[in-house]
């Protein structure tokens, strides 16, 4: 029963988009089936060594906030517990998972969750309905007509992902989709892996 499956919409903000990226903030919006559990949302800033002017400009995070934030190792257990029993959901989720994998491995924690990329799900739905292809998170937000809020905050983006996945899942459940099928179509195909993941 998909309605009983635990999902976690995830978003992280980082200093850059390469493999040396450092986490600046992380947010998790849990879901039980199509229900978004807003009450259990979690978000935190993470102390980073490499925050620079560019990151500040993109994320709107000030240095003081990052300096006074906890280090990843101080919150890693909380984050790990929140993510361990659910399927991770997000846009370009492979990137977020790969960064977290690296962080958790430094804490001797093995992190390799089942995951679903909402961009892949959307492409699947559009293939079935002959809709125009979608390539970015911004396009997803626009076509789902979500309220226009200030972006580039991990919590807002994770909540957007949860809302989009809620609508996609409801649609797919009406067609009797199984969990296995959902995981298969939500998996990023090799040819879609962006340059920064190579």
């Amino acid at each position: 029963m998909l309605s009983k499956i635990r999902f976690n919409a995830l978003d992280i903000e980082t200093t850059s988009l390469d493999k040396n990226a450092e986490i600046l903030s992380i947010a998790i919006v849990p879901m039980l089936g199509t229900r978004i559990l807003i009450r259990d949302c979690y978000s935190t800033f993470i102390k980073s060594k490499r925050i620079n002017a560019k990151s500040i400009k993109i994320h709107g995070i000030d240095i003081k906030t990052i300096e006074s934030a906890p280090r990843f190792e101080e919150v890693s257990e909380i984050i790990f517990k929140k993510l361990e029993n659910g399927i991770v959901v997000g846009c370009d989720i492979e990137f977020d998972v790969s960064i977290l994998k690296k962080y958790f491995s430094n804490q001797d924690l093995k992190f390799d969750p089942r995951r679903i990329d909402i961009l892949q799900i959307e492409r699947y739905i559009r293939r079935k309905t002959a809709g125009r292809n979608i390539n970015t998170f911004d396009e997803l937000i626009r076509i789902y007509r979500l309220d226009d809020f200030y972006r580039h905050s991990a919590l807002v983006d994770a909540y957007y992902s949860a809302q989009i996945f809620q609508l996609q899942l409801k649609r797919l459940m009406l067609h009797g989709i199984s969990l296995e099928e959902l995981l298969r179509i939500g998996k990023r195909r090799e040819d879609f892996i962006p340059f920064y993941m190579g």
Binding site: T34, R35, L37, C41, F149, V156, Y159, Q166
Partner: protein, 541 residues
């Protein structure tokens, strides 16, 4: 800001909450999607664990047993009664289109409900159908002042000091000094017959009037009084039109106190522009009245977003009365009575219009034509202006087209001879059965919600022979003691008039307003059925 928090902050009654209270709500918040046709909960099912807010889409509430159907839209709240009472829901909720709802856990909702009076009032009033109170709540949330609605009794701070007309000037001066007041009401058999103020004393001393003289010879007369429920603005307009500075405040026949123009100006400082406009109407040259009318309309538009219809319409009607009075008062013309009909008679006008009859005893054609032209130039719409010779009143009313008859029962004497007005009322009373029946029929058949209530209430007022009360709200207040259902229709009337007035000026209304209108119309439908049954009108309700 986190999107659910930003959304809730914008909608009433969540906008009434402090940041910490909103956090309690967020700590119990979930979001769920329902596909078209999906049942959210069933009538008589398990008591609800959540309160629902529609984020997008439509919900249908139905009761299969009573054929009750209601469609709810974005921003509307449902499941309130079950959450508050822990009883099973009384309706079945079905998604009428794909929709997303916010769900608030019962425990979190109850916590805030118990801590925030304004928040809980909102829900209690929805459940008990105290609709106009919700309007008031939402108006206060816009932090607007409500001064136009202040009743004069609130300005009375001291007990009235009275004396008999035979008291000496010296005694009265002593009374003022002992009681630390600036004015004394002179009474005869407990009825006010004059006023004597501190400002009169220097004049008398200057004129070397003996201080043993009776006060009755030096008091200001006549005494103009206002009922304690009257608004401060009404009191001010009364002072302006009578050229006086003091009014006696009465509770039926009992003197409650005295108020001065200074008391009012201090209270209404922020609305001085409107007050100065009303003063200017009296002193202004006639040719400048059109310019004045524009300013009045601007003030009324400003008031419409802040003040209930009942107050706005009474004030605007008062202003229009002042202008008409200015044009007809003290002119060397034959004796006449100017009677305002319909909404003007009921003091329910927002925009300036003329809907009147003039009863005269000598040829008044020229006079009326001049006044009519002047009023048109000032900006009044001339809807109906009929002149009747006093000897023809009986014949005119007996032959009056039935379509006009109901609004004649709203006729109010604006200026002129009371005997002519009394004759008008007497003749009308002969057709009262027709007036009742026609008003009742109009109540059921007109499409306009406001006019429907006005007609229904008029029918009931005429049935109880209340020919002297014209204003719909005042008629309702009188009828409430006799007919319980009037209490509900008064709520509905306040909601409909208030929201429709704002819609006229702002061209849009909010979600809460839509919801209140819907509730008000349900009450109106019941009222129409009640009127239909009471006057045996077989119909189309």
């Amino acid at each position: 800001m986190f999107p659910p928090a930003a959304y809730l902050e914008k909608i009433e009654p969540f906008s009434f909450l402090s940041k910490s209270e909103l956090k309690i709500i967020l700590n119990g918040l979930e979001s769920e999607i329902f596909g078209k046709g999906e049942t959210i909960f069933r009538k008589d099912g398990t008591p609800l664990k959540y309160l629902y807010i529609i984020k997008c889409g439509r919900i249908l509430l139905i009761d299969e047993d009573s054929e009750y159907r209601e469609t709810l839209k974005e921003g509307e709240i449902f499941g309130i009664a079950s959450v508050l009472s822990s009883n099973p829901p009384k309706r079945t909720a079905i998604a009428d289109a794909d929709c997303v709802c916010y769900l608030i856990r019962k425990e979190n909702f109850i916590r805030v409900f118990n801590s925030n009076r304004k928040f809980s009032d909102f829900f209690v009033k929805i459940l008990t159908k105290r609709l106009s109170s919700i309007l008031k709540l939402s108006r206060v949330s816009r932090t607007y002042e409500h001064l136009y609605a202040t009743s004069v009794i609130e300005l009375v701070s001291k007990r009235p000091v009275v004396c008999s007309k035979n008291a000496s000037i010296r005694d009265v001066a002593g009374l003022m000094n002992d009681n630390n007041v600036g004015s004394v009401i002179v009474v005869d058999d407990k009825k006010p017959i004059g006023i004597f103020t501190q400002r009169d004393l220097p004049r008398l001393i200057h004129l070397k009037v003996p201080l043993d003289d009776e006060i009755g010879r030096h008091m200001s007369t006549p005494v103009i009084s206002i009922n304690e429920d009257g608004t401060v603005m009404e009191a001010y307009l009364l002072m302006v039109s009578n050229g006086i500075n003091h009014l006696v405040v009465m509770d039926d026949n009992k003197i409650k106190g005295i108020i001065s123009s200074r008391d009012i100006l201090l209270r209404l400082e922020s609305f001085s522009s409107l007050l100065s406009l009303s003063r200017s109407i009296i002193s202004l040259e006639e040719k400048r009245l059109p310019e004045m009318m524009n300013k009045i309309l601007e003030c009324i538009e400003d008031m419409a977003s802040k003040v209930p219809f009942s107050e706005v319409s009474r004030i605007s009607s008062g202003m229009y009365d002042l202008i008409i009075e200015k044009l007809i008062k003290d002119k060397k013309i034959p004796e006449f009575a100017w009677i305002k009909l319909g909404a003007a008679g009921r003091k329910e006008l927002i925009f300036p219009e003329v809907h009147s009859v003039v009863i005269y005893n000598k040829n008044a054609d020229e006079f009326i034509e001049i006044v009519e032209n002047k009023l048109r130039n000032i900006g009044f719409e001339i809807r109906y202006l009929e002149k009747i010779h006093v000897d023809d009143v009986d014949e005119f009313i007996e032959n009056l087209n039935v379509a006009h008859l109901p609004e004649f029962y709203d006729g109010r004497l604006l200026y002129g001879k009371r005997e002519f007005y009394d004759k008008f009322l007497n003749t009308l009373s002969k057709r009262i059965k027709e007036g009742i029946l026609l008003s009742a029929r109009n109540c059921i058949s007109v499409n306009d919600d406001y006019l429907s209530i006005v007609n229904g209430i008029r029918a009931l007022s005429l049935e109880f022979k209340m020919l002297d009360i014209k204003n719909t709200e005042e008629r309702c207040k009188f009828l409430v003691e006799k007919i319980r259902t009037v209490e509900d229709i008064l709520e509905s009337y306040r909601v409909i008039t208030d929201i429709e007035m704002r819609r006229k000026f702002e061209n849009k209304i909010g979600i809460i307003d839509e919801m209140l209108l819907k509730e008000a119309r349900k009450i109106l439908l019941d009222f129409k059925r009640f009127i239909g049954d009471r006057y045996a009108i077989q119909n189309q309700v």
